[in-house]
């Protein structure tokens, strides 16, 4: 990232995909070549994206990029910065600060293990960077399962990707929705209702989860009941991050700064904090 922690790089939106009614995926490239070289992200990291005049907001990176200075993130338009982003089109300029935070790869070494990814709603995008990484290094991992829950079938992001993943033989994708529509043939219920369908090799499974705080709370309760060791439960934490560089204080939970100590934590790091993490 830029040595001046508050200054973003100028970047260009190279593509926009409409995911749902209010959610879009942005492909972005840092314009200056020398600056682009400084931007090398790892799965789980995030950026602060600026719309100059509206401010900046944090977004998890959704791919494991093959070249520096290039990134993808998914945004639901629901606040000042995200609504300003929704007004932009391909070719428009934004600011990018990052890559920020730590990576799923900084936690337990999951090579040679079974991988279980559990995502909820708009929180699938940050996990997708790890999913991408696993596919890029598929022989390093054993059984690979993704559980994805959303409010309704229409609220799911990356529908095109989900249908691709369903066809894969080296991945088991199970989806669920809280409320089905007439075309839905899958599971109905919260994501933990999928757990009985799993046959987990408990000592050799690493779980990566990201979702709304209430989902993470119950996912962890259920995983602990199954006997999963705490170090093998890897979760992101959610907080309102303003500066993204461990200074402004908004994202603190107990003594942790979600932006610089996280956003990825294993369960041993987040249990017993001075405040409820989720």
């Amino acid at each position: 990232m830029n040595p001046n922690i508050y200054v973003p790089y100028i970047a260009e939106i190279t593509d926009i995909k409409q995911e749902t009614g209010d959610t879009r995926t942005y492909d972005v490239r840092i314009k200056n070549r020398d600056e682009a070289k400084l931007f090398v992200s790892r799965p789980g990291q995030f950026v602060e994206a600026s719309v100059f005049g509206a401010g900046e907001a944090p977004f998890g990176l959704t791919t494991s990029p093959k070249e520096p200075g290039v990134m993808t993130f998914t945004v639901r338009a629901c606040g000042k910065v995200t609504n300003a982003l929704a007004e932009l089109k391909k070719g428009d300029e934004i600011g990018i600060k990052g890559p920020l935070g730590n990576s799923f790869l900084d936690k337990i070494d999951s090579k040679g293990k079974d991988i279980l990814v559990i995502g909820g709603g708009i929180w699938l995008p940050p996990l997708r960077s790890m999913i991408d990484h696993i596919f890029n290094n598929r022989s390093d991992y054993r059984e690979f399962t993704i559980l994805y829950g959303a409010r309704t079938p229409a609220d799911r992001v990356y529908k095109y990707q989900l249908s691709d993943w369903e066809k894969k033989t080296d991945l088991k994708l199970i989806q669920t929705v809280d409320v089905a529509d007439k075309d839905w043939t899958g599971n109905v219920g919260v994501v933990t209702t999928l757990f009985p369908k799993l046959k987990l090799d408990i000592p050799n499974t690493v779980v990566y989860t990201c979702g709304p705080p209430i989902m993470i709370k119950f996912v962890i309760i259920e995983l602990l009941k199954l006997g999963l060791p705490e170090k093998q439960i890897v979760s992101t934490l959610e907080r309102y991050m303003k500066c993204g560089v461990g200074k402004c204080g908004h994202c603190c939970i107990g003594n942790k700064y979600v932006c610089t100590d996280g956003p990825v934590f294993d369960y041993t790091e987040i249990k017993g904090l001075a405040e409820e993490a989720f």
């Binding site: 040595p3 200054v7 600026s50 405040e275």
Partner: protein
């Protein structure tokens, strides 16, 4: 221990020194009396403005090193894209006459905002990221503290190891010895300062140092409401003895004004936002913000992890007092300046809450 180099400065020489500083520096800051009799740290243009007697001003040195409102950068949208103006000339400044508690708070800010690994390639999560604005501002200022021969009515720095005299952490420390100040040099920057104005400084001697030590001992006896039980309160807090009911009691007296946090010289949280100044030009700034306000953690979904005032009060005191934070910060989050004691309309300031905490069973 080698004897410290000490000098003297006659009070009669101060106006001349200040006049020289006003010529050679961009800014000179000192405690001044405002309307209504409050003291606060402000930029001066004459030695006459310096308050002759004061405990410690409202806001203190935080007002200088971490301004309430500060530009982070400017942007300009043009035909060829957006350009950013990111370099700001920080003033060469002298901060005159702040109290040891405020200097201790600046030293804490140095570790929070200033020191640490640089960002850029190779930066690892968890590495501190130095704040370039703070670093430059701090680097270009000389801090001259004035030791306290007499504690203020609400002071308790003696409990937080941040006064009434400092043994280190200052550029220059003055001790009032009547018609002159004893001048202790605490940093190379302080040494250069004395050298620059050497015609105004006299030599110091061992007798002056003896007198200074005596004054320090006497000053320690002038505290009126010492709360020398931080350690015990912290043990109670970290031992899980302080329950939710305790915080609900504290919250019951708190009106949520955020005053304690705004006056606290150790509180560093801020908000970040943009402001347009025309259709094409604007700036990004930061402004003090507090964990006391419900909006501080409220997310765009409406979910608020700290929705209750009790949780927010708990947050503030935990941040200041819990041993958990000593992993990150080398000192507890209080310098005993007593400003929250003076400010809190509900009387649930640091001193009071520590006193209550000590008594929980």
């Amino acid at each position: 221990m080698p004897e410290k180099t000490v000098y003297s400065l006659a009070k009669a020489q101060v106006p001349e020194l200040i006049a020289k500083l006003l010529k050679s520096r961009n800014e000179v800051w000192a405690p001044v009396k405002g309307e209504g009799g409050d003291t606060f740290l402000a930029q001066i243009d004459s030695a006459k403005q310096i308050a002759p007697e004061y405990v410690n001003g409202f806001l203190g040195a935080k007002r200088y090193v971490f301004p309430q409102l500060e530009e982070l950068f400017r942007f300009k949208k043009g035909k060829n894209g957006t350009t950013l103006e990111t370099e700001f000339d920080q003033p060469r400044a002298v901060i005159w006459g702040i109290r040891p508690c405020d200097m201790s708070a600046v030293n804490y800010f140095d570790s929070f905002f200033g020191q640490g690994a640089k960002s850029g390639p190779g930066w690892k999560s968890g590495d501190p990221l130095p704040d370039p604005l703070y670093e430059k501002r701090r680097e270009r200022a000389v801090f001259i503290t004035l030791a306290c021969n007499q504690a203020g009515p609400k002071c308790f720095c003696v409990c937080t190891d941040s006064g009434p005299f400092l043994s280190k952490g200052f550029d220059i420390q003055l001790t009032d010895l009547g018609t002159y100040y004893l001048v202790e040099v605490g940093s190379p920057k302080g040494g250069e300062f004395v050298k620059e104005f050497k015609t105004l400084f006299g030599t110091g001697n061992e007798n002056d140092m003896k007198l200074r030590r005596k004054l320090e001992t006497e000053a320690e006896k002038t505290f009126q409401q010492p709360v020398s039980f931080f350690a015990k309160a912290m043990r109670k807090l970290d031992g899980g003895k302080v329950d939710q009911k305790f915080w609900e009691k504290v919250a019951g007296y708190c009106i949520g004004c955020g005053g304690c946090i705004y006056v606290c010289p150790m509180c560093s949280c801020f908000d970040v936002d943009d402001k347009m100044e025309s259709d094409t030009e604007g700036l990004r700034y930061r402004a003090w913000d507090t964990c006391d306000f419900a909006g501080f953690t409220r997310e765009v979904s409406g979910h608020n992890p700290r929705a209750s005032r009790a949780d927010r009060r708990k947050r503030w005191f935990y941040h200041k007092l819990s041993m958990d934070y000593l992993e990150k910060n080398p000192v507890i989050g209080c310098v005993g300046c007593g400003r929250c004691v003076v400010t809190c309309p509900g009387e649930v300031d640091m001193a009071t809450v520590v006193r209550w905490m000590r008594k929980v069973e």
